[in-house]
Each structure stands twice: as structure tokens, then as C-alpha cells.
């Protein structure tokens, strides 16, 4: 009996605490991501920082709710219901599975997705221009043509381009299909190696030796998590490794003309701020990456048997020298 009274008291106290934490004039932004991962975490941070810069300060005139589903789709579903139920001003859904789950749960709440490569294919929006419903966002579709231009500039005689990717990752597969098509248009060939887990990346990279003149890696989560394995193969077999994201250059890739997921998050945050100011998500075009930066790593290039030209190095926004 005493136990029950104690429990009731405790429950009431907690409830009171929870209610107190919520002030009246606060705007609420709920952010969900499918899994904790450096790129996705950077998106989250970017959204936060952009909102703060636009005058929405967490804990002040803004309340940010943040949940990660830890890779579990049932939890993603519950997070979606939780957010929709609390009626925030805007929901941000990071990565395709989170965005789809949120789209199924949210009927009217504005949803801004981020880090989704193919929003039309994922049926999040009907079209990239003025999507119409309550959902819009930023796609991380890579500027493949610019990447291939860079690759040809550095290794003009490369004809067979290898890539390692996870066939279980929706974003990666969409990119690899596009890559294959664009390479064919340039008279080049894509050599694919599949890795379903980080532990398979090394083996997959080794299978490219002798078959590929250069390696180009997309923003595949599995592969980038274990990118050192690909780099080490590139160094041993003298195959230059290019990346789609700039962070990988610091880890030993030759060069990347990419964007930072943090900036991607900032761009997402700017869309969120516009909705907070009254814009209608249905009228807002799906945005794509607007800042591309060239990162080069001359030391890594040497180790992979090529030399970067001086004009390329002078074009770079950042020259990284990773020494191992």
C-alpha cells in the first residue's frame, strides 16, 4: 500500500516536472534519425546551428526534440508516432527509412527530410518542384558529373572505375545505378564490388585489384565506415581512390569534390526556419546540395602512385596531408 502511494506521488512529480519544462511561446522542432552515424549526426548538428543562427535558440524560444531509432525500424515507427502526437511545428527526418516512416505517420505536420538521395523514388514527394503535400526537404544526390570530371582531370587514362557499395543501402544503390549510366555515356566502365557489412569492405576492395584503374566511392554508409580498408588496398596496388565526401580525403582518399553533411544540415535548418516563419512545405522545392568544395590530399596521391598537378592543388579549398 505504502509502495503504491509512493509510486503515485513519484508519477505525479515527474509529470509536473515534464509539464514545467514546456514553456508557452516556444516553437517546437522534432528531429529523428534512423541511426547514429558521423554524417547523420553532422546533419543534426547543422540543423541545430542554422536554427540558432536564425534566432531560434534551443531551450529559449525553441525546443528541439531529438531521437535516434538506432537502426531499428520498429523504434523508428514509435518515434514517428511520438513526434506526430506531440504536434511540433516542424519535424525533421534524417535518412530515407526515417523519412518514409514519418511520411506514413504525419498527415498534416510539416516534415523536412534530409540526407535522402532519391526522394521521388522513395515516394516521399511526387516531384522535386513544389511537392504539394506536407513534405519537402534536401536531397543529398551527388553531383556525379562534376565528380567524374574531377576523376578524369586527375587520372585521364582511367577507363575502368571500381566502386565498393552495400547492395542493402537504398541511397548507395541509387547512386551506383546512376554512376553506371553516366560512366557508360563517357565510354567508361563501372566495376562493382559488394560489401554488405563493414567487415566485408576489405575483401570487396581487394577484388577490384587488376580490374579497376581508379576507385570512386559514393556516400555509402557501410563503405565509408570502413574506408581505411579501401585506402590500404589503393596504396598497396597503386589504385587512386576518390571519394564523394570531403571528410574521406582526410582519411586518405586522393581528392573529393564534395559537400559536408554539416552544411547539408545547415541547408535543412534554413528550410525549417522558413517553415517556422510561415512558409508552406508544399510550395517549397526539394533542394539539392548548393556548396561544393574541392579537397585534395597530395601525400595520399603519392602513396597511390600518382602526382597531383599544381593547378589542381591551387584550385583546392583545402589541401590535406595525411601521413601514415
Amino acid at each position: 500500500m505504502a509502495n503504491r502511494i509512493l509510486r503515485t506521488l513519484l508519477g505525479t512529480a515527474l509529470l509536473a516536472l515534464a509539464t514545467m519544462a514546456q514553456a508557452d511561446d516556444q516553437r517546437v522542432v522534432a528531429i529523428t534519425q534512423i541511426v547514429e552515424h558521423p554524417a547523420l549526426d553532422a546533419v543534426y548538428q547543422g540543423v541545430r546551428d542554422e536554427l540558432e543562427e536564425k534566432g531560434y535558440k534551443d531551450g529559449d524560444n525553441l525546443r528541439i526534440m531529438h531521437e535516434s531509432a538506432q537502426g531499428n525500424s520498429a523504434i523508428a515507427s514509435q518515434i514517428a508516432r511520438k513526434f506526430v502526437g506531440e504536434g511540433p511545428d516542424v519535424i525533421v527526418a534524417i535518412a530515407t527509412p526515417s523519412a518514409q516512416t514519418m511520411a506514413a505517420a504525419a498527415r498534416k505536420t510539416p516534415v523536412v527530410f534530409s540526407a535522402v538521395t532519391d526522394p521521388v523514388g522513395a515516394k516521399l514527394v511526387k516531384s522535386l518542384k513544389a511537392p504539394g503535400a506536407n513534405i519537402t526537404g534536401v536531397t543529398d544526390m551527388l553531383p556525379i558529373e562534376s565528380h567524374l570530371d574531377l576523376l578524369e582531370r586527375v587520372v585521364p587514362d582511367a577507363k575502368r572505375i571500381g566502386t565498393v557499395y552495400n547492395p542493402g543501402e537504398a541511397n548507395a544503390v541509387a547512386l551506383v545505378e546512376l554512376l553506371e549510366e553516366r560512366l557508360a555515356a563517357r565510354g567508361m566502365e563501372l566495376v562493382k564490388a559488394a560489401a554488405t557489412k563493414t567487415s566485408e569492405v576489405l575483401g570487396a576492395a581487394r577484388s577490384l585489384v587488376g580490374k579497376a584503374d581508379a576507385i570512386y566511392l559514393t556516400t555509402d554508409n557501410t563503405v565509408i565506415s570502413a574506408v581505411e580498408a579501401v585506402i590500404s588496398v589503393g596504396e598497396r596496388a597503386s589504385i587512386p581512390v576518390f571519394a564523394a565526401d570531403t571528410a574521406t580525403v582526410g582519411r586518405g582518399a586522393v581528392a573529393a569534390l564534395g559537400f559536408d553533411y554539416y552544411d547539408h544540415g545547415r541547408q535543412t535548418g534554413a528550410m525549417v526556419a522558413r517553415i517556422l516563419e510561415g512558409a508552406n512545405p508544399g510550395d517549397m522545392d526539394v533542394e539539392s546540395v548548393d556548396t561544393l568544395e574541392l579537397f585534395v590530399n597530395p601525400a595520399a596521391a603519392e602513396r597511390m602512385g600518382i602526382t597531383l598537378s599544381d593547378d589542381l592543388i591551387s584550385d583546392a579549398k583545402e589541401v590535406v596531408n595525411s601521413d601514415q
Binding site: L14, Q70, G71, Q78, R81, G85, A104, G121, K123
Partner: protein, 300 residues
């Protein structure tokens, strides 16, 4: 503390995982067969249903096909065990990893969106109910039908033979029961239920994704054991009800954990909470009975 939508969402997911728990009850409890196939048969059910739905097949037929596909996967695991004498746990792991590739083949890509397709839920949205109550109503009906059918099956001659196979295989064989066939049937049935759960989950979530099977076995086990801890499963029907109750309690616990920011709990703590919940559910009944035993001994 929980909003209506979060509450109904927890019930909805709980009901779907109740079907998973039914499946795990058959393999793990009835047959004493630790079966990890479910991590693959859950997305298999989702994949089969999703592919058929986007091809324009009636969603209920697509869901039925998902059940049959799940049964096939379970049968493969059981045959690996019965015919090739591969250890049951290992047999299920082999099927599970094979299913990853099979699922990718079936879907042709890692993710199939169903957001704009007609699903089993679509006609029900015309009912005069709130949007988030509809799946709860439909899935309650599905779970009830499943529960009654399973209960009747377990009381049938075949069901009794299956229970005997799990309880004492040697005795069962001596009574003329084809234990191998019972294992194949039981594990197939179990994975058919999990395939059904996967198909329904994909339809309520708006997408089938090849990664959606991760951890299904752990959550199914947590539901089964949690339910047993709450409702002592002295009969088959109680055990089945316990499965559903356990799955719903688990989901409500997760929903509460998601709302417990003020306790200092954060998103990244969820897996730890799951592990603690499962451990408690496994350990507590034992502690309770040993406490009871001590008291009765003292009295005597």
C-alpha cells in the same frame, strides 16, 4: 505523458510484434528450437508483400503470399536441421544470412516505398475513426483470428503431437510421432506468422526495407518472456495471450522511454533499456519463485 498517437502507435506495433511473439512461442517454447530465421523472414514477408502490392496484386493476397514465403523460409531452416543434422541454431543462422540476399533479389533494390499504394489498411480509413486508431482495430482483429486458430491447432491431434515433440522427442518418437515432420511444420508455421508480421509492418510503415529485420528475434523474445513474467502461462491460450500482452508492454515501455527525457534517458540508451528489460524479465520470475520457496520452507 504519452500522447494519443504515441499510445495507439505503441499498441499497433505491439500487435504486429505479438504475431512475431506467437511465432517465437511455437519455435522457442513449444518445439524448444532457438530460431534466428525470424530476422530474415520478417523482411522477407515485407519484401514479398511490397513487390506484389506495387505490381497491383490485391494487398490481402500479397499478405497471404508473404505468409507462404515465411513458411518456406522456416521449412528450409527445419530441413537443414532435420535432414542434414545441422545444429538448430546454426541452421537458422544460415537461413537468416541467405535471406538477406534473397530479400534483395525479391525486391530488386533495398527499399520499396508503399506510401502511395493501396494496402490492407486503405479501405479501413473510410471508417469513422481517428487515423491512428485504424491500424489498431485491424491488427487487433488479425491477432485475435491468429490466436484462436493457433489455440485450436495446439489442441488438435497434430498440435498435441508437436507439443510432445518439443517436450520429449524420444518419448514422442516412441509413440509413433514423426518428430522430424513436426519440427518442419512448427518452424514453418512460426516463420509464416513472422512473415505476416513483416508484411503488415511494411504496409503500416509505408515501406519495405531490407534492413528492417535487425533485432526482430531479440524483441520477439523480450515480448514472449515479458508476457510470461506478467501472465503465468499455465495453458496454451494463456501463453498466447501473454505473447500479445508482452509485445504491447514492451512497446509501451519503449514509448515511455522515448518520453523520459526528463529522467535523463536519451535515444542512445534505448538498446541498453531493452537489454535490461529482457534480463529483468528472465531473472525476475526465478527470483520470485526462490523467494516464495524460502518463505514456504521457513514456514514448514
Amino acid at each position: 505523458m504519452l500522447s494519443n498517437i504515441a499510445f495507439y502507435g505503441a499498441i499497433e506495433t505491439g500487435l504486429i510484434y505479438g504475431l512475431v511473439a506467437f511465432g517465437i512461442y511455437i519455435s522457442f517454447r513449444v518445439l524448444d528450437f532457438p530460431d534466428l530465421t525470424v530476422d530474415g523472414s520478417f523482411p522477407l514477408g515485407a519484401a514479398v508483400a511490397a513487390v506484389l502490392i506495387i505490381e497491383g496484386v490485391n494487398p490481402w493476397l500479397a499478405t497471404g503470399a508473404a505468409v507462404i514465403a515465411g513458411m518456406g523460409a522456416g521449412a528450409v531452416t527445419a530441413l537443414l536441421n532435420v535432414k542434414l543434422n545441422i545444429l538448430n541454431l546454426l541452421a537458422s543462422i544460415l537461413t537468416m544470412i541467405a535471406l538477406y540476399s534473397v530479400n534483395l533479389r525479391i525486391m530488386g533494390r533495398p527499399n520499396i516505398a508503399l506510401l502511395t499504394e493501396e494496402t490492407v489498411l486503405t479501405p479501413w480509413y473510410n471508417l469513422d475513426l481517428e487515423y491512428h486508431q485504424v491500424p489498431v482495430l485491424l491488427f487487433t482483429l488479425v491477432v485475435l483470428v491468429g490466436l484462436v486458430l493457433l489455440w485450436r491447432f495446439m489442441k488438435s491431434e497434430t498440435g498435441l503431437a508437436m507439443r510432445a515433440t518439443g517436450a520429449n522427442p524420444r518419448m514422442a518418437r516412441a509413440q509413433g510421432i514423426a518428430t522430424g515432420a513436426m519440427i518442419v511444420l512448427g518452424v514453418a508455421l512460426s516463420n509464416g506468422l513472422v512473415g505476416l508480421a513483416g508484411a503488415l509492418f511494411a504496409q503500416s510503415q509505408g515501406a519495405a526495407d531490407v534492413t528492417m529485420g535487425v533485432g526482430v528475434i531479440v524483441i520477439g523474445l523480450a515480448s514472449l518472456i515479458g508476457g510470461e513474467a506478467v501472465l503465468t502461462p499455465s495453458s496454451v491460450v494463456r501463453a498466447l495471450i501473454a505473447c500479445v500482452i508482452g509485445a504491447i508492454i514492451y512497446r509501451l515501455a519503449i514509448a515511455l522511454a522515448l518520453n523520459a527525457d526528463f529522467l535523463g534517458l536519451q535515444a542512445q540508451d534505448l538498446n541498453l533499456i531493452t537489454a535490461v528489460l529482457v534480463t529483468l524479465a528472465i531473472v525476475l520470475p526465478g527470483v520470485r519463485s526462490s523467494v516464495v520457496a524460502r518463505f514456504t520452507r521457513n514456514k514448514a
